[in-house]
Symmetry: C2
Subunit: 341 residues, 2 copies
C-alpha cells in the first residue's frame, strides 16, 4: 500500500490522517542544535551527510508521515552565483539586489548535477534511509517569494521595491519570475529524479499581494512550475501564508494540494480551492507554545473542520513553520493525537 | 451641509467620494521632514504646536477630506508611565515588557486632562484651524495590537509571546486587553470632547489571529471601546491589516465604518461586513510608488469595486499607511482623481 501521506495527497483513503510539520527539522530540536553549528544554513545544506541527518531527526523523533528536505528557497539562486547568503536571525540577504534588466544575466539556468550536486546526494542518501512509509518532500521557492528577496535584498514587511518593479516594469518583472520559475522547476525535477516522492513550492509571502496582482503577475510563472512537473506523477503542494483571498487563484496554478494557514478555517479554505485538491494545514504554530490541553483542543478543531468538508485529502500540518521556542514533546503528542483521532 | 467625510461615514449621499490617507502626515512630506527633527515621535506628539502643524500639512497640500491626529497607538500607555518609546526605524520598544499579573498594576486608568494635556491642546488648536468641511479624526490603538507591543517588547512577525499569553493565561490576557480597552476609550472620549469629529481604532496586527482567537480573546474588549463611544454621535472607524477572514467578526465590534486592506476586493469586503457599515480603503500603498497610469488604473478599480457593491458609504483610502518613499505629487493627483471620479 502507498504511504499514508501520498494517499492523502491523491485524495484516496488513508489509514490515518497524515501529519508533518513545516520546519520540523530545525532549531526547536536539541539534536539539531547539537550538530548544526552557527554558520549559514547554505553551508549546512552543502554537506550531504549533515543535511540528510538533519532531515531524518524529526522523522525518528516524531514518527511524522513525511520528511522534508533540509533546504532553503534561495539554494538555486545561490548555486548559480547570484550572491545570496542567509544571515542567522535575519534571513536571505543579497549583496547586490536585482534592480534592472542587466541583472537578468546573473540568473542563468540551473544545471542541477553540476550546481547543486550536494542536494542530489542528500536526497539519494535519504531515499535509501527513509522507510517506504515516509516519503521525502522536495523543496523549492516560488517565483514571487524568491523575487522579493532578490529585489529587496533582505526580508521586507512592505515589499515596496518588489511591488514597484512589478507595477512600473511589468516586462522586466515577468522575465524575472519566468527565470525563477525555470530555476525552481529544474531543481524540483532533479530532486524527484534523485528520490523525492512529492514536492512543495513555498510562496510564503504571496499573501502580501492583491488578488489582481497575484493573478496577473505571479500566477502564470507559478503555474509553469506545476505544469512542468505534471509528467512526474508526484504530488505537488503549493504553500503560502495569509493567502485566504488568493486560494481560488492558487488552485488554478495546478498543484494537487494547497497549504492553508490558520487564518482560514479548513472547511472554508477547501471550498475556495475546490473539491479536486487536497489541503494541508492549518494549526497556528504559536498554539504549539501553549499548554497541552490548548494544543489538543485546537488540533481537534482543525481535524473537525477538515472532516466538516466531507472530503478525502487532508494532510495535518501547521499553518507556517515550527517556531524555534516550541517544545518538541508537544509536537510528538500532536502526531499521536492526529494519528489516533 | 455636513462634511463629505462625515456624510459617507453615515452612509448618506455625499457630493464626492471622500478621501484621506493613513499616515498622510509623515515622512513622505518634505515639509514634515523639515520640521520634525530626529527624536522619538512621542516627543513630537507632546508639542501641540508641532503636532497640530504636522496634522495640517497634508490637509493644505492634498485637499483631503479628513485630517487625522498626528499620534501613535502607544501614547496612552506611555502617558501612564508603562515605559514605552518609539525607536525611529523600529517602532514601539518596551524596556520591561508585560509578562505577568504583577504588570497589570503598571496599567492604571488614564486621566486625559492630566496625562495627555498636549493631545487635547493639539486637538483644540486643530478644531479652530481646520475648515468645517475637513473633520479631525481621533486616534487610538485597539487592545490586541497595543498588547502585542507590550508583551513582545518590540515589533514581531510571529506574535509568539502574545499568542502564548492569550492561550496559556486567558484570564490574565482578558484583564490586560480590558485595561487597554479602558485606556483607548478614555483617550478617545477626551479627544472627541476636545474637538475630534470622528475616531479610528487601529488594530493593525489583528490579521495575525485565527478567527476563533479573534472572536474569543479580542472581539469582546474591542467591542467595549465602540460601545463606550456610542453616545457621542461621532463616526467610529475600525481598521486592521490582513483581516479578510475577520471582517464579519469585526463588523460585530460595533464600528460604523470598517477599514479594508488591498487583499480583499471592496465589494466582497462590503459583503462580509454587511450593509449597515461603511467601508474605508483599499488601495495598496505600494501601488503609489508606481508610475501615474498604474496608480490611476488601480484607483479606478477600487472605485469601481466600491460602486459594484451598490451602496453608499465608501471612504477612499489606502489599505495601510503611506509608504515613506511615496511621491506626494502622486497622492495629490489621487485626491483629484477620487474627487473627480
Amino acid at each position: 500500500m502507498d504511504a499514508p501521506f501520498l494517499l492523502a495527497c491523491k485524495r484516496q483513503p488513508a489509514p490515518h490522517t497524515p501529519v508533518w510539520f513545516m520546519r520540523q527539522a530545525g532549531r526547536s530540536l536539541p539534536e539539531y542544535r547539537a550538530i548544526r553549528g552557527t554558520g549559514s544554513i547554505l553551508t549546512a545544506i552543502a554537506e550531504p551527510d549533515l543535511a540528510a541527518e538533519i532531515t531524518l531527526q524529526p522523522v525518528r523523533r516524531y514518527g511524522v508521515d513525511a520528511a522534508i528536505l533540509y533546504s532553503d528557497i534561495v539554494v538555486p539562486v545561490h548555486a548559480i552565483g547570484f550572491g545570496v547568503d542567509v544571515a542567522p536571525g535575519i534571513g536571505p540577504v543579497i549583496a547586490e539586489p536585482f534592480r534592472s534588466k542587466d541583472d537578468l544575466a546573473r540568473l542563468r539556468p540551473l544545471v542541477p548535477e553540476e550546481d547543486t550536486p550536494y542536494v542530489l546526494e542528500t536526497i539519494r542518501t535519504l531515499a535509501r534511509e527513509l522507510p517506504d512509509a515516509v516519503p521525502l518532500i522536495g523543496f523549492a521557492g516560488a517565483p514571487f517569494t524568491v523575487a522579493s528577496y532578490l529585489i529587496e535584498g533582505r526580508p521586507s514587511r512592505t515589499y515596496a521595491l518588489t511591488k514597484s518593479m512589478m507595477h512600473a516594469e511589468p516586462a522586466l518583472w515577468d522575465a524575472l519570475v519566468d527565470r525563477l520559475a525555470d530555476l525552481a522547476l529544474a531543481s524540483l525535477r532533479s530532486q524527484v529524479s534523485a528520490g523525492a516522492r512529492a514536492v512543495q513550492v513555498f510562496d510564503s509571502w504571496a499573501g502580501a499581494l492583491s488578488p489582481v496582482d497575484y493573478r496577473d503577475r505571479v500566477l502564470p510563472a507559478t503555474r509553469r512550475i506545476f505544469e512542468g512537473l505534471a509528467d512526474l506523477d508526484v504530488p505537488r503542494i503549493h504553500f503560502g501564508v495569509g493567502t485566504g483571498e488568493l486560494l481560488g487563484l492558487m488552485a488554478g496554478a495546478g498543484a494537487d494540494v494547497v497549504g492553508i494557514d490558520w487564518r482560514v478555517p479548513l472547511d472554508e479554505a477547501w471550498r475556495r480551492v475546490g473539491p479536486d485538491k487536497g489541503v494541508q494545514g492549518n494549526l497556528d504554530p504559536a498554539v504549539c507554545l501553549a499548554p497541552w490541553p490548548v494544543v489538543a483542543a485546537e488540533a481537534k478543531r482543525v481535524l473537525a473542520e477538515a472532516a466538516a468538508a466531507g472530503r478525502l485529502g487532508h494532510i495535518f500540518n501547521l499553518g507556517h513553520g515550527v517556531l524555534p521556542e516550541t517544545d518538541p514533546d508537544t509536537l510528538a503528542r500532536l502526531v499521536e493525537l492526529v494519528h489516533g483521532g
